[in-house]
């Protein structure tokens, strides 16, 4: 086994660890924003490290190019998707813990009174 393969295997293991941590956060946290905090950051790190590990183990020019493009794409798009999802969660009135105590976004973004699934708008439009 070469150094690159050992490093790649290490990256794969660490990537799986971070994906597990992200899933744990998804299971244990209390509301949508907290769950997103776990899934976007730890999940991206996990999948990015897995792709890097695969690149190191495969050690082909084509694989390296595609792998690096994938990692760059993940790093560019996951923050955007996370921002949009968090904004959507707040604006759609999803239940957020402690939002009634202190709400910094009050007056900045509109927020629905009720979450989407309780407003009953889904059945009417079918």
């Amino acid at each position: 086994m070469s150094i690159a393969e050992i490093a790649g295997a290490f990256f794969l293991v660490v990537g799986m660890f971070f994906i597990g941590v992200a899933a744990l956060g998804l299971l244990r946290f209390r509301d949508a924003l907290q769950r997103m905090h776990a899934s976007t950051k730890a999940g991206t790190l996990g999948s990015g490290l897995s792709v890097l590990g695969a690149v190191l183990i495969l050690a082909e020019p084509g694989a390296t190019a595609i792998g690096l493009v994938t990692v760059a794409f993940l790093l560019l798009t996951v923050p955007i998707a996370g921002h949009l999802l968090g904004r959507a969660a707040y604006m759609s009135g999803a239940e957020l813990s402690d939002v009634n105590k202190r709400d910094e976004l009050k007056g900045v973004l509109e927020r629905e009174e009720q979450p989407l699934e309780r407003r009953g708008g889904l059945e009417e439009q079918r």
């Binding site: 293991v13 992200a22 999948s47 897995s50 998707a81 759609s92």
Partner: protein, 87 residues
């Protein structure tokens, strides 16, 4: 190397099960969409592991495609969640 990859692929089933459980349980729409976002990350990792397991680099292309589709899907669902009930 292939044994380690198989073990890691089997380990990936646990986050997958947890994410699917979150998606089924909700409780809100936003939680389900967050779980879908996480599912994309798991799928990319699974594609990378399959590439290592089979030694075929084409599976990394699959991972890139999954990342693209996941981004587009998450963005569309976020737009749906933001605008629903406004019009």
């Amino acid at each position: 190397m292939s044994t380690l990859t198989l073990v890691l692929l089997a380990t990936l089933l646990l986050p997958l099960a947890v994410t699917v459980a979150r998606m089924l349980k909700g409780p809100g729409m936003a939680d389900r969409f967050v779980a879908l976002d996480m599912l994309t990350g798991i799928a990319v990792a699974a594609a990378a592991l399959t590439a290592v397991l089979t030694g075929r680099r084409e599976f990394l292309d699959v991972g890139l495609g999954l990342a693209v589709f996941g981004f587009v899907g998450t963005t569309a669902l976020a737009a749906f969640l933001t605008r629903k009930g406004k019009a």
